[in-house]
């Protein structure tokens, strides 16, 4: 008795194989979309930036006149911003990750904190801007200072660093933990001398990626009201400042065509900085990837 007609199966085979093959190429095409966009974006921007990206551009303040406008105030301002954001974000996030991974008891409060961190990661950056505007700029009367913007960005990247630090801490094998505890080391000695040093490459990688996100972030700065026409750099964290993405945005919004080229030049500078930071992160991850 034969339930299956083998000739039917054989007849359909070539069609199935053809579909299999063509879909493989379709999937491959999808994969290349990212690469194509990346190349187009960079080439297009570079072509716009040519002729505007020069030493004068990097050393001049912003200006209403295209010929004399530059990126200097924005670059210095972004550096000032990081002076506040980076230490604040590292301090808050790494401590939070350590608490959640090493000390937090298993209870509802801990669960709540964990859920809270992951939800904070999903809050749109523009909403963090509103938080900064209402709390730091208005209620605490910091104005549109480096401090107000820096703290806003620090809160924004906090969940990113917490999650990556947690992963780095979790990847330290428990056998190493036990070895330290077994020698009579206390909890904090174990955490500070063994776990933290072992997790530090992963933590730093996460921090660098988060910082590069903070440097390019525009929306919260717009909401806070970061100016784009200053002719001075800040002297302290309570001064007003300019920032790279903010300056780029302002130029994009200018009606005169030439300002688009300035924006392109600014983008190249910003992307170069981000690429450098990403390379460092990838290098650290690569260098320390096979440890256990």
């Amino acid at each position: 008795m034969q339930l299956i007609d083998k000739s039917v199966i054989a007849g359909k085979r070539s069609g199935r194989l053809a579909l299999n093959n063509s879909m493989k190429w379709a999937f491959f095409l999808c994969t290349t979309v990212g690469l194509v966009v990346l190349v187009t974006l960079i080439v297009d921007t570079l072509m716009d930036a040519v002729g505007y990206l020069d030493w004068d551009f990097l050393t001049s303040f912003s200006s209403a006149r295209v010929e004399s406008a530059g990126f200097y105030g924005a670059v210095i301002g972004s550096l000032w911003l990081m002076v506040v954001t980076v230490p604040a974000a590292i301090f808050l996030s790494v401590a939070t990750a350590l608490y959640l991974e090493e000390y937090a008891p298993k209870n509802r409060l801990t669960d709540f904190i964990k859920i809270n961190v992951s939800n904070l990661a999903g809050v749109p950056s523009v909403v963090f801007g509103l938080l900064g505007l209402a709390i730091f700029v208005r209620a605490m009367a910091m104005g549109n200072s480096v401090l107000a913007a820096g703290l806003t960005l620090a809160l924004m990247i906090l969940p990113v660093i917490v999650v990556s630090s947690q992963e780095a801490i979790r990847s330290v094998p428990s056998s190493v933990r036990e070895a330290s505890i077994g020698m009579g080391a206390t909890k904090w000695q174990t955490v500070s001398r063994i776990i933290l040093p072992a997790a530090i490459p992963g933590i730093i990688t996460g921090i660098i990626l988060a910082i590069s996100r903070a440097i390019g972030e525009t929306a919260p700065l717009v909401v806070i009201g970061v100016p784009t026409t200053l002719l001075v750099t800040p002297d302290g964290v309570l001064d007003s400042f300019q920032a790279m993405p903010m300056q780029i945005y302002a130029w994009i919004k200018m009606p005169q065509e030439e300002f688009q080229y300035l924006a392109a030049a600014g983008i190249i500078v910003l992307l170069a900085i981000l690429l450098l930071m990403n390379s460092v992160a990838i290098f650290i991850r690569y260098k320390f990837s096979q440890r256990y």
């Binding site: 298993k106 094998p173 056998s175 190493v176 036990e178 070895a179 330290s180 505890i181 077994g182 020698m183 009579g184 080391a185 206390t186 000695q189 001398r193 063994i194 040093p197 072992a198 440890r291 256990y292």
Partner: protein, 285 residues
């Protein structure tokens, strides 16, 4: 607490600097008469949640002996050694009852901190678990966490511990290299050196050779013989030949009970309990 602090170590003069080769097959039970107990348990019970993992354990372990603990998987032998330095409490649902006396002090007493206990009772683990640091920093870790910072002291302690662990010659030129660059057997001996660096009285070993090749295993076993001159060793092993080769006394654990505890010779040649005989003759486990 005072008791342990002032207690003199009744040890033979330590042979550091030279590796003394001795006949490792000498009959160790017969050498110097009666020894004092280092660990004694009184009706010790342990639960993981509802699981009664150790039941009414009454055992005595003597100084300068190697005591082997054998038994099939899940019999509670690992749990038991981890109870001796209270590492078992890292599992949150553990509950204990009864006493474990370390030199006549109950280790569960509030007077003794776990950190203090663990500097006296060192541990070597199943898998080599060096810290991701240099060999030197690995061995110096114990003294350092206990506040010893002088370079001169640390240098000497590191060298002596590595010599005692019979690995000094292999690593003396690369003390500053990461311990992960060593082979598994070398890593395990560095871990032993690390445990020796705080000069504990007792060293607990939880299947110390199960992750090692036969050559490394022999080296570690030789080392155990050397170490018992200065330390008391309590060794969990799944390998019965190993227990027979290295230990002075053997305890057979089965389903959370101690079935039999006696001189190793008796356990292996003339056990009283049928289950012990079945196990040591390889009929189950």
């Amino acid at each position: 607490m005072v008791n342990i602090m002032t207690k003199e170590k009744n040890t033979v003069t330590r042979a550091a600097g030279t590796t003394v080769v001795e006949d490792r097959f000498r009959d160790s039970a017969a050498d110097d008469g009666i020894r004092e107990p280092v660990f004694k348990t009184n009706n010790f019970n342990l639960w993981y949640g509802d699981n009664h993992a150790l039941q009414d354990i009454n055992l005595t372990f003597n100084q300068n002996e190697i005591s082997a603990i054998i038994g099939p998987s899940g019999c509670g032998k690992s749990t038991f050694v981890k109870a001796l330095n209270r590492m078992v409490e890292l599992v949150p649902v553990v509950r204990t009852e009864g006493e474990i006396l370390y030199l006549e002090n109950n280790i569960f007493d509030r007077k003794m901190t776990v950190e203090e206990l663990r500097t006296k009772v060192g541990m070597v683990f199943q898998k080599p678990n060096p810290f991701p640091k240099s060999i030197y920093d690995n061995v110096a870790y114990g003294p350092r966490v206990h506040g010893i910072r002088k370079k001169k002291v640390l240098d000497e302690v590191v060298e002596k511990s590595l010599r005692d662990a019979a690995i000094w010659e292999e690593v003396k030129d690369r003390l500053n290299e990461n311990a992960y660059g060593l082979s598994g057997g070398q890593q395990q001996r560095v871990c032993i050196a690390r445990a020796l660096a705080t000069e504990p009285d007792v060293i607990l070993m939880d299947e110390p050779t199960s992750a090692l090749d036969p050559v490394s295993t022999t080296k570690v076993e030789d080392l155990m013989h050397e170490l018992k001159k200065d330390y008391s060793l309590i060794v969990v092993t799944h390998n019965m030949q190993q227990a027979a080769r290295v230990s002075d006394t053997t305890s057979f654990f089965y389903q959370g009970y101690v079935v039999e505890h006696d001189d190793t010779k008796i356990i292996f040649e003339n056990p009283r309990d049928q289950r012990t005989e079945d196990y040591v003759s390889g009929r189950f486990g």
